[in-house]
Structures are given as structure tokens and as C-alpha cells.
């Protein structure tokens, strides 16, 4: 598989205790002294991560900046209200997720809902498989309802734990497991790369 060798920072960098502590210090400076430099640093920590996540949610390119800036508008105005019960990253990404859902609704581009899913129309395994091999996963992800896709993206792309995904999506842990379960089943139906790997369920 031909991969572009592009040097990037690791967008999968999940908040560790160290980074969470550092980011909380930034948020504290924002809350206490309206520190622009701290705000700029925190913005930079999330800009690339959110840009890619929102693109994968099918948020329109022209809406992505607005969603990110709306998110950080909330961070700026609510910095003193962050209680710290969760990681700062789950708070920020959760805000972005809800803003993105609003943007998708406004754009009427929300991906197909569960009940609209038609597996006959979504197979991406075909004679074009070789040509599209590099994007095979993306093609499958595009077929998922947004809630399932987000659960999967947060788990695999950003590397969050189940509990963190639940905090971001503001839903119970079991709902996260269910969404990911259904996403996995769908991907196996539409992606021949995965279909052959899992045995039939007993």
C-alpha cells in the first residue's frame, strides 16, 4: 500500500494525566486572568484533532472552522465553570460534537439514520477494491450513522477509553458499547477486508 510520508503531530494523542494537568493549568490561566497566550496554546492543542474529527463526521469544510471557534468560544466564556469531573479533553471534544451535530442538522447533511440504513446499497467491496484500497475504511465509515461513527472515531482515531467516549457523547457506557457493536457489524457487512476475518457468531 502506497502511503504518503507526511510528518504530522500525533492527532491520536489522547489526554494523559500529564497533558490533562498541563491543559487544566492553561484553562486556569484563562479563567483567572483571561490569558490570551494560554487560550492560543489550548486552541492549538485541539485545532488539528478537531479539524480531522469534524471532517470525518462529514461536517462541511466551510462549517468546520465555525464549529471549532464556537467550541472555543464556550471554552473562553465557561472556563471558570469547568468542574473537572472529567478530563478537559472530553469536555472540549464533547462541546465540539454537539456543535457539529447542530451544523449537520442545519446543513441537512446528517448521515443516514439507523432506520434508513439499506445494506444493499452500501457495499463497497467490488472490482474497484484494488483502486480504492487506501480508502477502504473511510468508505465504510461514511456509511455509518453519525452516532456510531463518532463512537468508532473517538475510540480508534483519538484512542479514547469507553468511559471517555461516553463522557464526550453524553450517554451511558452501555450505549457506547452498543453503538460500536452495531458499527462493527455494519463495517463487516460492507467491507470485505473485515468480513473475512471474523468467524460466524455462535
Amino acid at each position: 500500500m502506497a502511503l504518503k510520508s507526511v510528518e504530522t503531530s500525533n492527532p491520536r494523542a489522547v489526554a494523559t494525566p500529564v497533558t490533562d494537568t498541563a491543559e487544566r493549568a492553561l484553562l486556569d490561566r484563562i479563567a483567572r486572568s483571561r490569558d490570551q497566550a494560554a487560550f492560543r496554546t489550548l486552541y492549538g492543542n485541539y485545532y488539528q484533532r478537531l479539524t480531522r474529527l469534524l471532517a470525518r463526521m462529514s461536517v462541511r469544510r466551510e462549517d468546520i472552522e465555525e464549529v471549532i471557534n464556537d467550541t472555543f468560544w464556550v471554552v473562553w466564556t465557561k472556563a471558570s465553570e469547568f468542574r473537572g469531573a472529567s478530563q478537559l479533553s472530553t469536555w472540549i471534544i464533547g462541546i465540539a460534537y454537539r456543535r457539529a451535530l447542530n451544523a449537520l442538522r442545519r446543513a441537512k447533511l446528517r448521515p443516514v439514520a439507523d432506520h434508513e440504513f439499506d445494506e444493499d446499497s452500501v457495499s463497497v467491496g467490488s472490482t474497484e477494491e484494488q483502486e480504492t484500497n487506501e480508502q477502504w475504511l473511510s468508505l465504510g465509515l461514511e456509511r455509518l450513522p453519525v452516532e456510531q461513527r463518532m463512537a468508532l472515531e473517538l475510540t480508534y482515531t483519538l484512542g479514547h477509553s469507553c468511559e471517555e467516549v461516553a463522557a464526550i457523547l453524553d450517554c451511558p457506557v452501555n450505549t457506547v458499547k452498543t453503538r460500536l457493536f452495531r458499527a462493527r457489524e455494519t463495517l463487516k457487512q460492507v467491507l470485505p477486508q473485515l468480513a473475512g476475518m471474523s468467524g460466524e457468531k455462535s
Binding site: 507526511v6 491520536r12 485545532y47 476475518m197
Partner: protein
């Protein structure tokens, strides 16, 4: 391990994504790994999920990172919006003795603020370009602002960062606008309508509506007098 180990196939199956991404809870790891070791179906599913993880990593590595300039431009827009909103908040609080508006209220000035934002960049470009202009040039420049006239219709404008000085000059001239102040702290300019333009029926509202549709203008709004 512990007494809470459910050790059921379904529960282990549900947790496989976090075994694959390495973020499974420590208290679950041992029993899930124990189940997977003895379950061919879960081993195959774990392999599939690890394939997804590796493909995600490939996709992420191959995706071009947003340009640093793009990030800075976005931040500048946000910061201008914040400055504009806080300026409004401060003035309304001082004039009416009211508390600072809630974020929702501040959102109402979002377009104003957003427009003001881009000018931070635009004004820098404009300022540099203007700096190079001869004082004899006919351009309306920040350094040659006209004296404000009382009660003249006034418009607040933020120009696109891509707008050239010549374009801005043409735009202002065609509308009968003269810059009377600016850039403000957020980079916005204040312009007034000429007496001739007013005599021909133009108003701050009509001019703002016209120029706000111009691609060289990020934001334009009549100023209440």
C-alpha cells in the same frame, strides 16, 4: 482475578475495541484477554479490530495536516469575535449598569465580531500597503482620515484580508464613503457617507447592505447614531 469477572462471550466481545486500542480498563483487561485466549471467534474479531486501528493510523498519517497559517487565521477570527463581544459587553455594562451579557446574548453580535476578526489580518496587509503609498495618493488611508461630521451616516467595516488597497479605495469611492477612524482594537474601520451620497438617497443601512455582499468586505454594519 476478581469476583466481578463476568467472563461471558458477549461482554468480552463488546470490549474488544478497547482491547484493540489499548485503553481497556485495567480491571477488565485480564478477564477479557483470558476469554479471548480461549475463544476463536473473539480472536478473529480482535484481529479485525486491530486491522481497523492500524488502518486508522495509516489514514491519519497520510492525511495532510492543516496549515499553521490556517490555524492562526481561524484563531484570529475567534479572537476578534471575543474582543468585539467583550467590548459590547463592557460598554453595555458601563452604560446601563447591567451585568455582562450571557454567551447566548453575545452570540447575537457574532457576525459583527466575526467580521471584525478577519480585519486583524486584513488591516495588517492594508496598513503595510498603505505605508508604501505616497501622501499624494488619492487613497483613503488610515493616516489621512477625514474629520468625522456630526450626524453623518456611519458604517463599521471589516475588509477581507485578500482585498487590495486599490479595490478598497474603489469600493469606498463608489459608495461615497470616507474612513473617519480605525483600525479599532479589533481592526475594524469606521466610515462616513459623504453629503453627496446622502443627498442621492444613500443611507448607512443601504450602503452597509450593498458592501456587505462584496467579497472584499467581511463585515459591514450601520452604526446607530
Amino acid at each position: 482475578m476478581s469476583a466481578r469477572v463476568p467472563d461471558t462471550h458477549a461482554e468480552a466481545w463488546a470490549l474488544l475495541p478497547w482491547l484493540a486500542n489499548g485503553r481497556i480498563a485495567p480491571e477488565d483487561r485480564e478477564w477479557v484477554e483470558g476469554h479471548v485466549a480461549g475463544c476463536a471467534e473473539c480472536r478473529a474479531e480482535l484481529a479485525a479490530q486491530r486491522l481497523v486501528v492500524s488502518q486508522v493510523e495509516r489514514d491519519e498519517a497520510a492525511a495532510p495536516a492543516p496549515a499553521a497559517s490556517e490555524e492562526q487565521r481561524s484563531f484570529n477570527k475567534l479572537w476578534a469575535r471575543i474582543e468585539a463581544a467583550e467590548s459590547v459587553s463592557a460598554s453595555s455594562a458601563s452604560s446601563a449598569g447591567t451585568p455582562v451579557p450571557a454567551p447566548r446574548a453575545a452570540r447575537t453580535v457574532r457576525w459583527l465580531a466575526a467580521a471584525v476578526v478577519v480585519q486583524a489580518i486584513g488591516l495588517g496587509v492594508i496598513g503595510l500597503a498603505m505605508f508604501g503609498q505616497s501622501r499624494n495618493d488619492a487613497f483613503v488611508t488610515v493616516s489621512s482620515v477625514e474629520a468625522p461630521r456630526a450626524n453623518a451616516p456611519t458604517v463599521r467595516i471589516v475588509f477581507s484580508p485578500d482585498a487590495s488597497i486599490a479595490t478598497i479605495n474603489t469600493l469606498l469611492t463608489h459608495q461615497g464613503l470616507s474612513i473617519v477612524s480605525g483600525p479599532g482594537t479589533s481592526g475594524n474601520f469606521t466610515a462616513q457617507l459623504s453629503a453627496d451620497a446622502v443627498a442621492s438617497g444613500a443611507s448607512a443601512e443601504s450602503v452597509a447592505a450593498v458592501i456587505s455582499r462584496d467579497p472584499n468586505v467581511t463585515f459591514a454594519q450601520p452604526v446607530a447614531r
